[in-house]
Amino acid sequence: MRRVLLCMLVLLFVVPGCMKKEARMQAYFVRGGLAVELPGITTATVLSEGTVVFRWQKGVEDKGAVLFGGDKLFLPVEWSAGEKYSVEARNRDSRSAVEVTAPLKPSPMLIHRVQLEDVIPFSIDQGTAPDTFVKFSGDNRYLAIGSFHGYLRVVDVKTGRVILSKKIAEGMVKRIGWGKIDGQRVLYAGEQSPDGYIYCLDAMTGTELWKYRLADDIETSRPERENDRYAVYKFPGVYRLKVLPGGDVVIVGTHGWDIEGRRRYRCMVYRFDGRTGRIKWRWPADRTLPYGLTWFDISDDGGRLLLLTSTWRPPGQSDPVYENGTLYCLSGDTGAVLWEYRVPPLRPYYERATAWQGVALSADGRYAVIGLNDGRGMFFDTRRAVSVKGRRFPQNSPLWVKEIGTPVLIGDIPVSSPVSYAGAGREEVYFVLPGTSIPSGAVKGKVRKPAPHPAAGQLYAFGLDGRLRWKWKSYGSMQGIYLSGDSRWLFTVNALAGMAGSRRGGRTSTFGVTLFDTSGRGPETGKPVYLYPTEGPVFFMADISEDGRYIALVEVPFADENGIQKGSYRVHIIH
C-alpha cells in the first residue's frame, strides 16, 4: 500500500512537470511602442515588411528600450494602425517569433503590481477605501507608496523590486514628495496621525534627516475607538505636499475634529527649507486658520499658491483677517496674500462655497481654476486682481463661471453634482463630477439607481475661453484628474461614489483607469486612449510620471452587495 501511495505522489508531481508548457512570447502595441513579454528575454527584433525596424539585446545599448523585471520589454517603435510586424525574441532556452497587426489604439501595459498590506474590504454600506498615496520620482525611476497603515515603500520601476519598506507613521502616510539634497534622493512624507509629522528621509535607506510635528501648531486630538475606520481622519495631517524646484517643500497641515457636536478646524500652510526643515513662512503667520484647507495648488516655479478656505458646517470660530469660503492666491515666496475672491454662496440652496480637491493653477501660475461642491466651475486670470477701497487685499473675480453641476430641482428637492476635482492644462481646464448628492436607499441592487443630475459622472474639458472642447461620460464614478508634465496625457480613475449608501447599485464593471490624449484633435478628441480594467475600485489618489510614460494607481478591496470581495490592496504600475 505504501508503494501505491508513493506512486500516486510521484504521479501528482511528475505528470504536471511533463506537461509544463513552454513560455509563449506575447507582443502587443502600446503607447509609443511595442511590448514584448517573454520570461528571461535576451534579444528582440522587430521587422516590418522584412526590414528590421528595431533590434534590442540585453546588456547592449538600449536605444530607448526598457526591460521591466526581466520579462517585459518596451521597444520604442513608431507603429501605424493596420501594419503588420514580425517580432522575434529569444531567451536562454528558446527562440520565439510572432506576427502582429497594429490596432487602431494602443493597449495598456501592466509593468508591475505591488501588493500592500492586508486591509478589511470596504462595502456598499460601511467603511472607506484605505487612503493611499503614490508618487513617481522626477526622473521616473522610482515610485514611492504611502499606505493606510503607515508604511512607506519605494519601488524600482524597472525591476519592480521594493527597495525600501518602512513603517513610519502611527496613522497613515498621507502625502509624499521627492527631492534631492546634495545629489542624495530624499522623500518628504507627511502623515495623518496624532502627531501629524512631516519627515524628510533618505529615499533609499529610510534614514530620517529631519522631521516637524504639525500637532505643535494645529493641535492634536485624542484617539477614537479602535474599530472606527474614520477615526484617523480626525487627526492632524498633511493634506497636500509639493516639492519646489529649489528643494523647498510646501505643505498644508489640516486638522478637523468634533468637540461636543461642533466641528473645529486648525489649519496652516508651511514652506520648509527642504534641506534643514527650517520654516521659511507660515500662513497665517502667527495663528492657525479656523477653516478647512483640503487642497492647494502651486505654480511650477513656486511663485503662486492657490487655496480655498472652506467648511461644510458654519465654523465655530472666525479669523479676524481671513474669510471662510474664500479663494486666496498667495505668494509662494513669502506667503503674502496676492489677492482674494470671496466666492458668493449659491443661494438659496447653499450658505457657503466649499470645495474638495477642485483647486488648480496652470503650470506657469497664470490661470486658476476651481471646482465647487455646489456644482460651479470657475476660471481666473491670476494677474487680473485690482485693489478695492475698504478691502485689505486686492480683489479678483472669475473670467467665466460654468454652472455644470448646480442644483436641479426634482420636485422641490435640489439635487446637485459637486465638481470635486479641477485641473489646469496648457490650453484646457478640466472638471470632474463624480456623482450626485442624493444616494440610493434601495437595498436591492438589481435595479439601476436613478441618476437625477445630468452632469453626474462626467469629465468636462473647457478651453481657456470657456468653450466646451470635449467631455467624457463614464458608466461609473469618475474621480481625480492627473496630468503629465506637458499636460498631454490625462487620466481619471473609476471608483465608487464615496458616500456609504450611494454605492448601492453602483456598477463594479467599470473599475479601472481611463487615459486620454489631450493633444488629439478632430473626431478622436475626448475619446480615451485606453481603459485599463481592475478588479476592485481604484482609490482617487494616483499619479502619472512627469514624462507621462507611467501611471501608478491603487486598487482597493471592496465587498459588493453579495459580500463578494473584488480586488485587493495593491498598486498597479502601467504604461
Binding site: 506575447q26 458646517r313 430641482l409 435640489p414 459637486p418 442624493i438 458616500m499 478628441t525 481603459l531
Partner: protein, 634 residues
C-alpha cells in the same frame, strides 16, 4: 490489483485535469453602445487578452493582465451594420463572438421625461429611436418637474432646434431658463421653442421646466427635435408622453408601505430587541461613566448614522416607480427640525435641506426594502417627536404618501440607574472584601479543591462561553431577539448545571467566586478584553450567586444540605432569582453604558427563558449530574 490501477489512473487524471491547458469556454454577449461595446462573459473570468476586429483590420488589441471580470467595456468607433469579431482569451479558454453592429447611427439621444424621474441610461435604446410614445403618471393638481434632454454622441457641431408642445389645460409654472428659448401660447396650448448648439460628444442640452396638471384626464405632451450637422444632414426626433392624471389616493394605493421599523440595522432589518420608535440618548454622566470604563468612544462621530429606519415598500402597479424617500424629525407641535436631528452636510450635499432623502426604484409587483439613516448630531431633549416619511414621485412636488410616526427620545431610566448603582456597589464591595480577605479565603481552600474548581471553571467557559462566542452572531442573525432560546441553553442551562454540581461537591462559600473568576480570566485571555465594565457584571454575578447558594442553605449547611425535592426546589427558586437579577443587571448595564434601549418584552423574555426556565431546570439537572459524581476525600 485492479483497484490499485484504477487508483493510479485516477490520480493521473486528477493531476492532468488540474494542469491541463484550457479549452473553449461558453460564449459571451456583446452589446454595442455609442462609444464601443460591452462584453459580458457567462461568468467572471481572468482576462488575458481582448481583441476586436472589423473590416478595417484590428481595432482593439488589449492586454488585460489577468484581471477577473464578468463585464468589460471596450471603447472604439464602429459603423452601423458592419460585422465585428470579438476574441477574448481567458485563463479558462478563448471565446470568439461575431456580431453585427446595429443599424443606428447613434448621433444623438433625445429624452422627454414627464415627470422627470431619472436620466435615461447612456445606452437606453428608447432615446435613439426616431419616434417614441410613452405613458406617464401624475397626481391631480400637482406640479411636475419635466425635462427635455438632448445628448450628442459624436464630435462635431450640430444645431439643435425644436419645440415642446404642452396641451391646453396644463399650465407651465416654471419656464426653462436656458438661453434661446421662447414660450408662445395659443388655444391649443403652450409651446416652448428652443435652439442650441452641441459641438462635442456627450454634450448635453438639458431643458427643465415645471407644469401643473389639471384634474383627472389624459394629456399628451410632445417634443419635436431637429439636429442639423455641419454637412447639412438633418436628424429628426419625435417624442410624446401621454400623462394620465390620477387622484392622489389611487397612486398611493399602488405604492404600499408594508412595514416600517426603527431602530433598524444597516440593511434595514428591524432590531426588535430594542424599543420601537425609541432613541435612547445617554445622559452626560452616563457617557462619562462609559468613557471611564473604556466603552464609550472619546468622541461621537456625528457624521455617522445614530441608527437606521427600514421601509418595505411594495409596488402593486405594472410599471417601475422612481421615488424620492424623504424623512425628517420634527418637534411634536411644530414643523421645525430640531438642530439635534439635522443630518450632516454629507447627506444633504451641503444644502439647507434638513431632511434625509434617498432614491429608490420600485420594480412592479415587488417589495423593495429602503434604508434611511437617522442622524443625531447633538443631544436632543428627551420627549416625543414626530418622524415624518414622505414618498415623492421623482419630479413631483407633492408627496404621493406621507406617514407620520412617533419618535421617543428617552434619556434617564430610573430602573437602569438603580441597577447600575447596585452593580457598582456590589462589585466594589465584593472586590474589596475579596482583596481584604484574600488570604483567609484561600487559606480555607485545599489545593485539590482549587484544582477541581479551576477545572469546573474551565469547563463552564468551554460549554457556555465558547459556543455563544462562536455561534452567537449566527444565531442572532437567524433568530433575532429569540436567539435567547439557543444561547440560553449554553449560557444558563449548561452553566448552572455545572455550577450546581460543583457546589454540591464543594459546598462552601468561595467556590462560586473562584469558578467564576477562572471563567472570567479564560474568557479575557481567549477572546480578549479585560474591560472595567466586566468587573461590574462579574462582581455583581459573584455576589448574587454566592448569596443565592448561601440563602438556599447549600453553602451555609455544607455537607448537611439535604438533596430532597423540597430543598432542591427552594435552591432552584433562589438561583432563578439570582440569575434574574444578574440578567437584568447585564441588560441595564448595556443600556447605561452602550446606549442600547431594550424593549420591555425583550427584557421579560430574557428573564423568563434564561433565568426562570433554564436556571430552575439546570438546578435539577445539576443535582442529577452530581448524583453520578463520587468525591473521594482523603
Amino acid at each position: 490489483m485492479a483497484g490499485i490501477l484504477i487508483l493510479l489512473a485516477g490520480t493521473g487524471v486528477t493531476a492532468w485535469y488540474f494542469h491541463a491547458s484550457p479549452g473553449a469556454v461558453r460564449g459571451a454577449d456583446v452589446e454595442f453602445v455609442p462609444d464601443g461595446a460591452w462584453l459580458t462573459l457567462p461568468y467572471p473570468a481572468r482576462l488575458r487578452h481582448v481583441r476586436v476586429e472589423g473590416r478595417e483590420g484590428v481595432i482593439v488589441s488589449r492586454k488585460s493582465g489577468g484581471v477577473e471580470k464578468e463585464r468589460l467595456w471596450l471603447v472604439f468607433d464602429w459603423e452601423a451594420g458592419r460585422d465585428y469579431t470579438f476574441t477574448v482569451s481567458t485563463e479558462e479558454g478563448t471565446i470568439v463572438v461575431e456580431k453585427s453592429a446595429p443599424a443606428h447611427d447613434y448621433t444623438a439621444g433625445v429624452q422627454l421625461s414627464v415627470p422627470f424621474t431619472s436620466m435615461a441610461g447612456l445606452t437606453s435604446p428608447a432615446i435613439f429611436e426616431k419616434q417614441t410614445a410613452a405613458p406617464g403618471t401624475a397626481i391631480e393638481n400637482n406640479e411636475l418637474t419635466s425635462a427635455l434632454i438632448v445628448t450628442a454622441y459624436r464630435q462635431g457641431e450640430r444645431t439643435v432646434t425644436g419645440r415642446v408642445i404642452i396641451p391646453a389645460g396644463v399650465k407651465l409654472t416654471a419656464f426653462p431658463q436656458n438661453r434661446d428659448t421662447k414660450t408662445t401660447y395659443d388655444e391649443r396650448g403652450t409651446v416652448i421653442h428652443f435652439r442650441t448648439t452641441l459641438s462635442v460628444a456627450y454634450e448635453r442640452f438639458y431643458m427643465p421646466f415645471s407644469i401643473r396638471m389639471p384634474d383627472k384626464g389624459e394629456y399628451r405632451l410632445r417634443a419635436e427635435v431637429t439636429l442639423r450637422g455641419a454637412d447639412g444632414r438633418e436628424s429628426l426626433f419625435s417624442r410624446a408622453v401621454t400623462v394620465k392624471v390620477v387622484g392622489k389616493e389611487s397612486l398611493a394605493d399602488t405604492i404600499r408601505l408594508i412595514r416600517v421599523s426603527m431602530p433598524a440595522g444597516i440593511q434595514g432589518i428591524a432590531l426588535r430587541q430594542y424599543a420601537a420608535d425609541t432613541l435612547y440618548i445617554q445622559p452626560r454622566v452616563f457617557k462619562k461613566l462609559g468613557r471611564f470604563f473604556g466603552i464609550e468612544p472619546k468622541y461621537i462621530d456625528y457624521t455617522h448614522p445614530f441608527t437606521y429606519q427600514g421601509l418595505v415598500l411594495e409596488n402593486t402597479g405594472t410599471g417601475s416607480i422612481a421615488l424620492l424617500i424623504n424623512s425628517a424629525v420634527y418637534y411634536r407641535d411644530r414643523d421645525i427640525v430640531p438642530a439635534a436631528f439635522r443630518p450632516p452636510d454629507s447627506m444633504t450635499g451641503g444644502t439647507k435641506d434638513a431632511a434625509v432623502t434617498v432614491t429608490a426604484v420600485l420594480p412592479p409587483g415587488e417589495k423593495t426594502r429602503v434604508v434611511l439613516p437617522v442622524y443625531v448630531t447633538s443631544d436632543p431633549l428627551p420627549g416625543e417627536y414626530r418622524r415624518v416619511v414622505r414618498l415623492i414621485m421623482m419630479g413631483t412636488v407633492s408627496p404621493v404618501a406621507e406617514y407620520e410616526f412617533p419618535l421617543y427620545v428617552t434619556s434617564m431610566n430610573l430602573t437602569a440607574w438603580t441597577f447600575t448603582l447596585i452593580a457598582v456597589f456590589l462589585s466594589l464591595t465584593a472586590t474589596l472584601v475579596f482583596i481584604i480577605r484574600f488570604k483567609k479565603i484561600v487559606a480555607r481552600m485545599k489545593v485539590r479543591w482549587l484544582v477541581i474548581i479551576s477545572l469546573y471553571g474551565a469547563m463552564t467557559f468551554v460549554v457556555s462561553n465558547v459556543p455563544v462566542r462562536i455561534f452567537g452572531s449566527f444565531v442572532s442573525a437567524v433568530m433575532g431577539p429569540f436567539s435567547v432560546f439557543i444561547t440560553g441553553f449554553f449560557s444558563s442551562l449548561l452553566y448552572w448545571t455545572l455550577l450546581v454540581s460543583l457546589v454540591r461537591l464543594l459546598p462552601r462559600p468561595g467556590t462560586v467566586t473562584f469558578a467564576t473568576l477562572v471563567r472570567y480570566m479564560l474568557n479575557g485571555i481567549m477572546f480578549g478584553g479585560f474591560q472595567l465594565a466586566d468587573i461590574l457584571f462579574t462582581g455583581t454575578g459573584i455576589v448574587a450567586k454566592e448569596a443565592a447558594f448561601y440563602v438556599s442553605g447549600l453553602t451555609r449547611r455544607g455537607e448537611g444540605f439535604k438533596w430532597n425535592t423540597g430543598s432542591v426546589l427552594y435552591l432552584a427558586v433562589c438561583l432563578s432569582l439570582a440569575d434574574a437579577f444578574i440578567t437584568l443587571t447585564g441588560l441595564y448595564l448595556h443600556m447605561v453604558l452602550y446606549r442600547l434601549y431594550f424593549a420591555d418584552w425583550y427584557i421579560y423574555l430574557n428573564v423568563i427563558i434564561n433565568s426562570l426556565l433554564y436556571t430552575s431546570a439546570a438546578t435539577f439537572t445539576g443535582r442529577r449530574f452530581s448524583d453520578r459524581l463520587k468525591w473521594e476525600d482523603g
